[in-house]
Point group: C2
Chain length 211, copies 2
């Protein structure tokens, strides 16, 4: 099983575009508009898996991301967050993994703050069966904001094989919150499962914000 206390020994035949990274606003790459993403068909989760290091759910849904259509593949959770913003670590990060018809991957990430418990996340917690895969029927309706602000860059998967074919959209203004109890539940089940921030190297990180 993946050991988050031994990240230095994860397979490392990869390049210079790894994820996660520390995000910050670069005036050269700042756009005064919303992130061009929209959910075309709400996500329906129908399978829940204990993968040992997180909960992963598969299902259906469609999104348009930077003017191309993607199908939702799976969602999973990290605590604390993997992407940081100006060095600050959010308590929770959600990854919605998508693919398009030619196999390109986009991950929509939500950086989540502590607040009210989220009902859909509670349904996921309540449906969890250790070491098992089980059928569920959960709708996600309001996790991705209609008017999203955040970052856009090219990186990698954050777990092995750490493949560098991944386009990241990291949303910073999701209204979805989680309770401390919900975060504690994940931390107790899985421990910390955040990969450390990687070198940005020669990459541009775009920031989109409209008010």
């Amino acid at each position: 099983m993946l050991n988050y206390n031994d990240q230095e020994n994860w397979p490392n035949n990869f390049g210079k575009m790894q994820s996660p990274i520390n995000l910050s606003i670069d005036d050269q790459n700042k756009y005064e508009e919303f992130l061009p993403i929209s959910v075309d068909e709400f996500y329906q989760l129908n399978n829940e898996i204990d993968d040992g290091t997180t909960i992963r759910l598969t299902g259906m849904g469609n999104a348009t991301v930077f003017n191309r259509e993607f199908s939702f593949q799976q969602i999973h959770f990290h605590t604390p967050a993997e992407h940081t913003v100006n060095g600050k670590v959010a308590p929770f990060e959600i990854h919605l993994v998508h693919k398009n018809n030619i196999g390109q991957t986009v991950v929509i990430a939500l950086l989540v703050q502590i607040g009210n418990a989220d009902a859909s996340l509670q349904e996921i917690i309540n449906s969890f069966v250790p070491n098992k895969e089980n059928d569920v029927s959960i709708n996600l309706t309001e996790w991705i904001p209609n008017l999203a602000n955040g970052f856009h860059y090219a990186g990698s998967l954050t777990t092995p094989p750490l493949t560098e074919n991944v386009e990241w959209v990291v949303i910073t203004n999701s209204q979805m919150t989680v309770s401390q109890n919900q975060v504690d539940w994940f931390a107790k089940k899985f421990g910390h499962n955040n990969r450390k921030c990687q070198a940005i190297n020669n990459r541009n990180v775009e920031y989109y914000e409209n008010k």
Copy 2:
């Protein structure tokens, strides 16, 4: 220098999305529309390089490819063509390499048939200085058709490091032709410099054609 007679020994720590491939029309992935590409700013070539295995020229230009903006990086030539169509090998293939702001790569490839000599290509041939890099001033105006048909898939660079972060647009209806003399000139200078077709594996290859 890269040895095309010893491709089996090129570095091979890559995945299952290599290029070139043999292209064919798959009814499940056929679109009755033109390829959504347009040249926003004509390509201006200003530097010509003998890289030992081909001529490479750098310059400026912009294109919109599948609804995203890309900057032209460099152009180079292969003889015979690298991508085949239903097993057929064109005599010449041109690669126009582009990048966008977050570092994603798109290559627009032209499969070129024998016909009239092309004036811009002749200018490139006439400007060639062996083992040197030299300044040129060449405009490409009509190589990319306004109404393009062809293939779209995710693959790799076709020379080491064979990086798999490349989106391919292979145009099959370019009106640009090359003369047999022009092809012979390249073959004499560089020999055959086409990488063999690679396994398609689990990839969808889209085909766009409008009449």
